[in-house]
């Protein structure tokens, strides 16, 4: 089973604690099986193999994350190779996604040659539109200048690189929470960005679906490991009035999700290496798994939106 988690929470009677339950998300043709609040569905690979086109949705896009180009340790000596596999999966989709979002840690050490490799490999992707937010690994020595010069050309970025855009009636917000971090603290958005966010969403109707993406989770996944953002509550406060908010993050190299009111939080797998589940290891460093198991712990996330359905469907697929 390579595809295992998703959610389209419509508050339509899904018992998150554990009923086995089947439902179809109208229009997708995918059958979602819910067990313990976790939805399972067909994988992108399975769909591609069957040559079955994805049914029409108003918008579908893909999240890739944590490529860590330049990493070459035991946990994965070929991160460029696994990144390529992820792109192959995207290219094999019968209905290509409208665009990709990359939720940070493009590189391991912010080196120009690592960014070069990433850009070169990405050329093989048929989907050309990519929106980025930086991870801490992309802004190591220059406060993110190189990252901004390369990856924000096509958006109207403000401050250290945050921006928003609209696609098919969905409002997307890319946030930066990996810069100017304070000793002892977590990820941070900062006052300037928060004020911008407040103004950015102020005039939007409450029925506008919102997708927020940032590298470090915007919820307290595991603060002991720095897996959270100190001022995310303030950001979410500005989004509370909206009927559908989807928050997409990377950083922790594993799928975790949480639903709070109308807000769905979701973290994506890495295409490079897995990290341990919160608190299960002495530190959150790269997790070594048997070679044959590695690709099952790497992956990407597909997100679909259909007008009239308030929540977006989020489907994770691994690379095995």
């Amino acid at each position: 089973m390579s595809d295992y988690i998703s959610h389209d929470h419509e508050h339509d009677g899904i018992d998150r604690r554990g009923f086995l339950h089947c439902m179809a998300w109208a229009g997708t043709g995918l059958l979602w099986t819910i067990s313990g609040g976790v939805l399972a569905s067909k994988t992108l690979a399975q769909i591609a193999k069957a040559g079955e086109p994805l049914p029409a949705t108003d918008l579908s896009f893909l999240q890739i994350s944590d490529s860590h180009i330049g990493f070459s340790k035991e946990a994965n000596k070929d991160v460029t190779g696994t990144f390529k596999i992820a792109l192959d999966r995207i290219n094999a989709m019968p209905t290509p996604p409208s665009f990709l979002i990359h939720t940070g840690d493009i590189t391991q050490l912010s080196k120009p040659e690592e960014f070069d490799t990433f850009d070169e490999v990405l050329k093989s992707c048929k989907t050309k539109d990519v929106f980025y937010v930086p991870g801490e690994h992309d802004v190591l020595n220059d406060g993110g200048k190189l990252y901004r010069d390369r990856y924000l050309k096509r958006v109207e970025a403000k401050g250290s690189g945050w921006y928003s855009f609209n696609k098919n009636g969905v409002h997307f917000v890319g946030l930066v929470n990996v810069l100017d971090l304070q000793a002892g603290g977590l990820g941070q958005l900062g006052d300037e960005q928060l004020e911008w966010l407040e103004a950015d969403v102020k005039d939007l109707g409450t029925s506008t679906p919102i997708v927020v993406f940032a590298h470090i989770p915007l919820w307290a996944v595991y603060p002991q490991w720095g897996w959270g953002t100190s001022d995310s509550e303030r950001a979410l406060g500005y989004l509370k009035r909206f009927g559908s908010v989807t928050v997409l993050n990377g950083h922790i190299h594993q799928v975790l999700q949480k639903v709070e009111g109308n807000v769905t939080f979701h973290t994506a797998m890495s295409t490079a290496f897995p990290q341990p589940a919160p608190g299960t290891a002495p530190s959150p460093g790269p997790m070594k798994v048997p070679a044959e198991k590695l690709r099952s712990m790497l992956g990407l996330t597909s997100i679909q939106y259909m007008q009239g359905k308030s929540a977006l469907a989020v489907v994770d697929s691994n690379l095995s």
Binding site: L109, L140, A183, G184, G226, P282, S283, G285, P286
Partner: protein, 124 residues
């Protein structure tokens, strides 16, 4: 199953002593310079997303060296910007500063700000 004979007992003992010396050295042993003076080795190991030892006392003028033993890059940044910051240290890379005026210097990893440490500088 390995049985300790008199011979390998001795070997084990010697190994143990050697190991002990090495770890003492790593945590602040004395090193003889060519001119016969000695320089204290103030090493801070970065492992499992932590600075070890977390607090280190050194004398003004002595060097302090951090070495990253993680597979994750880390930095050393003074909270009050009291000393130059390191670039991102990859695995096994080192960073050295010379301790300045007596005082307490707190620092952190700007990549993983949960990681903090303290250097206490005393008069020589």
């Amino acid at each position: 199953m390995i049985t300790l004979t008199r011979k390998n007992k001795m070997a084990a003992l010697l190994c143990g002593i050697a190991f002990l010396n090495l770890s003492l050295f790593a945590l602040g042993g004395e090193m003889k310079n060519a001119d016969g003076t000695s320089t204290k080795q103030n090493k801070i190991e970065i492992k499992d997303f932590a600075f070890n030892p977390q607090t280190l006392t050194v004398k003004s003028g002595e060097n302090v060296t951090w070495i990253n033993r993680d597979e994750e890059p880390h930095t050393v940044v003074s909270v009050q910007k009291q000393f130059k910051k390191s670039t991102a240290l990859d695995t096994d890379q080192e960073f050295t500063i010379t301790a300045g005026a007596p005082g307490t210097y707190t620092y952190f990893c700007s990549v993983h700000p949960k990681m903090t440490g303290t250097i206490v500088v005393v008069k020589p």
